[in-house]
Symmetry: C2
Subunit: 107 residues, 2 copies
DNA sequence: CGGTTAATTAACTCCTAGGTTGAATATGCG
DNA sequence: CGCATATTCAACCTAGGAGTTAATTAACCG
């Protein structure tokens, strides 16, 4: 699968986005990450694997802990992609669109 | 499903992103959209339904044609979400991180 | 060593996603 | 009307996603 699809896919889940939000506050172990969620540890472990495969987190190895850290590099790619559409949601563009429609009606 | 997950899910497919890119150049009918893709018209129709459900496109009704138009509003939400992580990929932050690590080593 | 804690792997269920083909539903046109 | 065009709907297939429980691996600790 292409990189961008993998990243978007990883982000298309509220649990995984919540994990990223948690990691934005600092690195955490799997148990710490899983604690607030109503799902099993194993399910969280799977989510972490998805995030890791998408490059959104990296994992360390300290004794029996695997601390996870946020890696926002793929998010920059997302930001780059999405801003190519920025003109379509900016107010100025909406005004232009309204103006063009107005012109069209008048003719 | 929550809105953001739906939008991210819709974007997690290269065909759908290509459709959005096509619509950025102007509205198009289903056949026009489907033309460059190596999949069936029905498959494209399904993709359009996904994009519509995510609010990324709107569709008109002209005779037997259903012209699709890009609606970038959800992309603004994506941009808003992703920029909350901007500090994690900006160079200044990387420098800060390196600095903090340096401090830590020195103590 | 033996037990405890941390995390992953395995095997399974259920459901949805993306694709197919074939039939159905409009709408325009001669 | 009857046919061609545009699009959707329906039924089906296969693969993978998200969750579960049970078993396994790895590392520390008394």
């Amino acid at each position: 699968m292409d990189r961008l699809s993998e990243v978007f896919g990883a982000l298309a889940d509220p649990t995984r986005r919540a994990i990223l939000a948690r990691l934005a506050e600092g690195e955490a172990t799997v148990n710490q990450i899983a604690e607030p969620f109503p799902i099993s540890l194993q399910a969280v472990s799977k989510h972490l694997k998805v995030l890791e495969k998408a490059g959104l987190i990296t994992r360390g190895k300290e004794a029996q802990w695997r601390p996870c850290r946020l890696d926002a590099a793929p998010l920059r790619e997302v930001a780059n992609w999405v801003t190519t559409y920025q003109r379509f949601w900016e107010e100025r563009y909406d005004e232009l669109g309204a103006y063009l429609k107005q012109i069209q009606k008048e003719n």
